[in-house]
């Protein structure tokens, strides 16, 4: 299984990547979501996306809409993560497959 992590914070991205690695899931990371298209050019097929909702320069929800408009991601589950638990209802309505509050609980993942 291969996951894509979109997060502007390299430390958070690293921690999530290592946690997935321990569970046998490989991952690639995108720190600059504005350059998401470039990052996806020769990527391995993606089974799951983790998307940070708060990034500078671009709204996480806009990234979500862009991904869902892309054929490659229409059937890929996208999990939002944010420190703002109050966002959970919004992301559910938009069609995210999951929501994780930060800091991440490793056992739940």
């Amino acid at each position: 299984m291969h996951a894509l992590i979109i997060d502007d914070d390299s430390f958070n991205l690293g921690v999530l990547s290592q946690m997935l690695n321990m569970e046998g899931v490989s991952s690639s990371g995108v720190i600059n979501p504005v350059a998401l298209d470039d990052a996806l050019v020769d990527s391995t097929p993606i089974d799951l996306v983790f998307l940070d909702l708060e990034m500078p320069g671009i709204d996480g929800l806009e990234v979500f809409r862009n991904l869902k408009a892309d054929n490659r991601f229409q059937r890929v589950p996208i999990i939002a993560y944010s420190v703002h638990i109050s966002e959970i209802n919004k992301v559910r309505q938009l069609g995210f497959q999951g929501f994780i509050g930060k800091p991440i609980d490793a056992v739940v993942i």
Binding site: G14, L16, Q18, M22, A106
Partner: protein
């Protein structure tokens, strides 16, 4: 950010969040990391990861495995007999440090680890300096 450049650090830790934070910090400072989760396949994974500059070992594992048993298992292998092993544990340091010193560990780092102090603690151990942390960090 390169004080641990090309150092090979093997982490034995069952909690993915703890491992993930430790591994990410080590990698940010240039180290390469490997891991063992349950303490049941340690030697095989160490051999695949070798050469090893340092081993970080949690002391408490599920399924009746203890860090002290893992320590003995590692030391029984000639190729790892000299590799420094540091305990990284949430155990009460006043109780744990005398035990791990007597056992032959090269240091004790208290959990939760300090994001700022941890890379320096690792750097010190790699320079053969002792690291015995009695007070938990406030992060």
């Amino acid at each position: 950010m390169s004080k641990l450049e090309n150092k090979h650090v093997f982490v034995i830790e069952d909690n993915p969040a703890n491992y993930a934070i430790i591994a990410t910090l080590l990698q940010m400072y240039g180290a390469k990391t490997g891991f063992e989760r349950w303490g049941t396949t340690t030697i095989g994974r160490l051999r695949k990861f070798a050469p090893v500059d340092l081993i970080l070992l949690d002391l408490m594992f599920p399924y009746g495995v203890s860090g002290f048993d893992i320590f003995d298992e590692i030391r029984a292998c000639p190729e790892f007999a000299q590799v420094p092993i540091v305990a990284v544990s949430a155990m009460d340091a006043a109780v744990a440090i005398p035990k791990v010193r007597a056992k032959g560990f090269s240091g004790f780092i208290a959990k939760p680890i300090s994001f700022t102090a941890f890379p320096d603690q690792i750097s010190k151990v790699l320079n053969n300096e002792a690291v015995w942390q009695y007070e938990p960090s406030s992060i």
